[in-house]
Assembly symmetry: C2
Homo-oligomer: 100 residues x 2
């Protein structure tokens, strides 16, 4: 399984951009982008959207992976992680049908 950072790196390379150029265009420090692509710093939703646009990529899949990584990070070592996911899912579905 490749991480969101890794996917962003692949997309950047496919778009023919160097780290420097991409970082400059996205208006962040090159060191930070380097670390983000390698999972050493946390990604943000805003940056992912910006990069997706730069790379002409539909952001949906990237965002979904990004969010699920955050969830996994919180639950991976939790004995009741899966049960918690089920409860969260039910709750969110409920919130969606009953607007809020």
């Amino acid at each position: 399984m490749s991480t969101t950072g890794q996917k962003l790196r692949e997309l950047r390379e496919k778009a023919g951009l160097t780290l420097r150029k991409a970082a400059m265009q996205a208006d962040i420090d090159v060191a930070i982008l380097s670390k983000m692509e390698r999972g050493e710093r946390k990604l943000t939703k805003e940056l992912i959207l910006k990069l997706a646009k730069m790379y002409n990529e539909n952001p949906e899949k990237l965002i979904i992976d990004f969010l699920s990584e955050k969830v996994i990070y919180e639950l991976k070592d939790e004995e009741f992680g899966l049960k918690a996911l089920k409860v969260a899912e039910k709750q969110i579905k409920y919130m969606r049908t009953n607007n809020k």
Copy 2:
């Protein structure tokens, strides 16, 4: 839906403990426990376990609710929140069967 904090308050009252006594026994400041029960400060897993023990309550349900609240907090306003949950679930299941 009542929050984990609210449940902890109910359990404390059922156990006949005042805020001050419970906080003292759990070795935290009374202000913090007050705020945690009312959702003004974040709960921690460790404290929940300690309180559950003090109140003679099985901690499983409390922990599951606590974890799911954290997940919901991250995803509630996300368009792709539910999809992210599905991905996370699949991933965690995979991790469990293939031991990491």
